[in-house]
């Protein structure tokens, strides 16, 4: 590496060496959309739905939206840490959510709930460490690693459960948790809000969250600041696993049943919520609160489609397109807007 080549072949030359030292940035619609768009779009979507979609603005429907949004939201909030650390996503949340739900109900039925929760925590730690070591220590591609752990995890779950549905005790703690509502808010929504606030605090105000962000922004600079970067990646995947664990519990409580296929689609709905919320798949930029907003957007969209008679297929198409569009806007905004 030589002086001349690095300076001269630089495709994006450094800002001019003027005395002021700061580049003026012009307003750009793409930059604006990638940063602030979600607020406006969410508001517009909700407004549109409230006016034009019959039954959207009813208390029952809103409670239903919250009930469905809560587990996905909790998963998305945890996965946000993986995305911010520039490791794309954690596909294995699908397996993790189902495992935690099945463990909770199955073990509660056979022995007791706390044991089921303890097993769940153990499994979540294993997921976090296995994914984290493969990505952080072996530097393997996160998409492929979590694709393989998804299959392994779901395989183990189906093999052990035989794909059967576990029904919880209708009068048990889990069922009553799932049924409790405060006004239109199910308890699950409260859990989501508490988790979001907590994780927001972790991301913005603790050294761990700070390092995750800076690792996503520039992993070499972070390493050179003396950060134990492999451990950091393991940490990010463990947070994601904890989100999936809690998401699984909430999901199990809502329906008071658990089955290995109950979390199909959680991977991309969570990813869509994260990306639509404005967290960048290129890493280093993002917020848990925005992910919450993304969850509202994605859940409302899904709900509107259900109410309008669009089936599962259309919902998947919409969310797939949403992911590609949101990332495109981010990518194009980066091209025009510099950093």
């Amino acid at each position: 590496m030589t002086v001349e080549s690095t300076i001269e072949s630089n495709k994006t030359p450094e800002p001019a060496n003027d005395e002021v030292g700061v580049e003026q940035q012009d307003f750009n619609i793409l930059v604006w959309m990638s940063q602030q768009g979600v607020f406006v779009f969410t508001a517009l979507l909700l407004l549109f739905a409230a006016i034009f979609i019959d039954g959207f603005a009813s208390v029952d429907n809103i409670t239903d939206v919250f009930n469905r949004a809560a587990p996905i939201g909790i998963v998305a909030v945890g996965m946000t840490f993986v995305v911010i650390s520039a490791n794309y996503l954690d596909l294995s949340v699908v397996a993790q959510v189902a495992t935690s739900a099945v463990l909770l109900i199955a073990v509660s039925n056979s022995s007791n709930m706390l044991l089921g929760m303890a097993f769940g925590v153990l499994v979540a730690i294993v997921y976090g460490v296995v994914n984290g070591v493969a990505v952080g220590v072996f530097r393997a591609n996160a998409v492929i690693v979590t694709l393989s752990t998804t299959f392994i995890g779901l395989g183990v779950l189906r093999w052990q459960s035989g794909g059967s549905i576990y029904f919880g005790d209708p009068d048990g703690v889990i069922a009553s948790f799932g049924k409790t509502e405060i006004g239109p808010f199910p308890l699950a929504m409260l859990v989501l809000i508490v988790v979001t606030l907590l994780m927001h605090f972790v991301l913005t105000s603790t050294t761990f969250g700070f390092m995750v962000k800076s690792f996503g922004s520039n992993r070499e600079a972070t390493r050179l600041a003396g950060v134990n970067t492999p451990l950091l990646v393991i940490g990010a995947f463990t947070v994601s696993a904890m989100g999936a664990l809690l998401g699984g519990w909430v999901l199990a409580a809502f329906s008071n049943t658990a089955v290995s296929s109950m979390s199909d689609g959680f991977d991309f709905e969570a990813l869509a919520a994260i990306i639509v919320g404005g967290t960048s798949v290129f890493g280093g930029k993002g917020s848990v609160l925005r992910t919450l907003l993304g969850v509202v957007f994605v859940s409302a969209l899904t709900n509107i489609m259900v109410l309008s008679g669009f089936g599962f297929g259309y919902q998947q198409m919409a969310i797939g397109a949403l992911i590609v569009l949101a990332v495109s806007v981010d990518a194009l905004a980066r091209k025009v807007g510099g950093s």
Binding site: V137, F138, A140, N141, W159, G313, G320, V324, S328
Partner: protein
């Protein structure tokens, strides 16, 4: 250091032993060969039916191999195509929706090409990571397969043709095996003998150098994704003909097995390294493994666990990872020393 007369530039000395060593060192299929030997021995001892009922094994090989070989073309350029699983489902459903089988096949293949081009557009023109672009496409197309099929399997009108398709055509080979063999040969020849295909290695190995040498990088990426899309669509058609119905949920496992086959086969995920032959060997070992497990009554879920483990181990044991792990472990374990001083 010898001076003046000859210049020792570190070139390897010839000689038979040296030549054999060199040949081995040049190959990238090592892991696939090892896995193939291990599973073959396992199958010979415990499930020799894998080899006696070879038409079953070959059928499985063709099934896994087709998408894997197409995917290889993309990975050689350092890109990923996760959408293959859904292309498989969509093409099957589209094909089955036509009354005329041949028209259906043509339209389905065309759709595969178009999807490949759309993937490439997002990757090279918009500038998104191929994992994310094709992941979005994976979800989008899965939804599309559901929409087209109305969430039900679509039966093929022309059952005769579908049934004929399952019968041996040349010797013991069914059309599906023949198609796989032809596809393998075509792509193998393409990336080793055809200029455009060979330049995939340059695009994946050193993109800057490829550009400087005047290779149209964008066009190569388009070609790669279109090959992958086309082949995946072909796989969807074959699966549909075999089942005489199109299943909108088809392809879930194809994603896992294709990546496992390619990565075991020595295709470097960052591009530029590997061979289609490696993918074939990887595919063969997975096919023997799957068929062997099926024969000895292993549940499908356990089979998934095994294939998942193969992929996991393969992805963390590629040469880059092995190099990374040395440095990373040092950093990981030194944390304590650092804080104690």
């Amino acid at each position: 250091m010898t001076q003046n007369t000859t210049l020792d530039l570190g070139n390897e000395k010839p000689g038979l032993a040296g030549q054999i060593k060199t040949t081995f060192a040049r190959r990238t299929e090592g892991r696939a060969v090892v896995l193939l030997i291990v599973v073959s021995i396992w199958a010979l001892i415990w499930e020799s039916a894998v080899f006696t009922a070879y038409e079953v094994t070959l059928g499985r090989l063709a099934l896994i191999g087709l998408t894997a070989v197409g995917l290889t073309a993309v990975i050689l350029m350092g890109e990923l195509d996760l959408s293959i699983a859904s292309i498989l489902a969509v093409s099957g459903v589209v094909m089955a929706s036509f009354d005329n089988v041949f028209l259906g096949i043509v339209v389905a293949l065309a759709i595969g090409l178009v999807i490949g081009a759309v993937n490439a557009f997002f990757v090279v023109v918009v500038g998104i990571n191929s994992f994310i672009a094709t992941l979005g496409m994976l979800f989008f197309l899965r939804g599309m397969a559901f929409v087209i099929s109305d969430e039900e399997p679509v039966l093929i009108e022309n059952k005769e043709f579908a049934l004929d398709f399952g019968k041996p055509l040349v010797g013991e080979f069914t059309p599906r095996v023949l198609i796989f063999i032809l596809t393998f040969i075509a792509i193998q020849v393409f990336v080793t003998r055809v200029r455009v295909g060979r330049e995939f290695y340059a695009v994946g190995g050193n993109r800057e150098a490829a550009r400087d040498a005047g290779i149209p990088v964008r066009r190569r990426v388009f070609t790669g994704f279109m090959i992958s899309g086309f082949v995946a669509a072909g796989a969807g058609i074959i699966v549909t003909l075999q089942l005489t119905a199109a299943d909108p949920t088809a392809g879930g496992n194809a994603l896992l097995t294709s990546f496992a086959a390619a990565i075991v086969g020595g295709i470097l995920l960052t591009g530029g390294r590997g061979s289609v032959l490696g993918t074939l060997l990887g595919t063969a070992s997975l096919a023997i493994l799957q068929v062997g497990m099926t024969f000895n009554g292993t549940e499908a879920d356990v089979q998934n666990i095994v294939i998942g483990l193969v992929l996991f181990i393969a992805v963390i044991t590629d040469p880059n990872s092995i190099r990374a792990v040395l440095g990373s472990t040092r950093t990981l374990l030194q944390a304590r020393t650092a804080s104690s001083t």
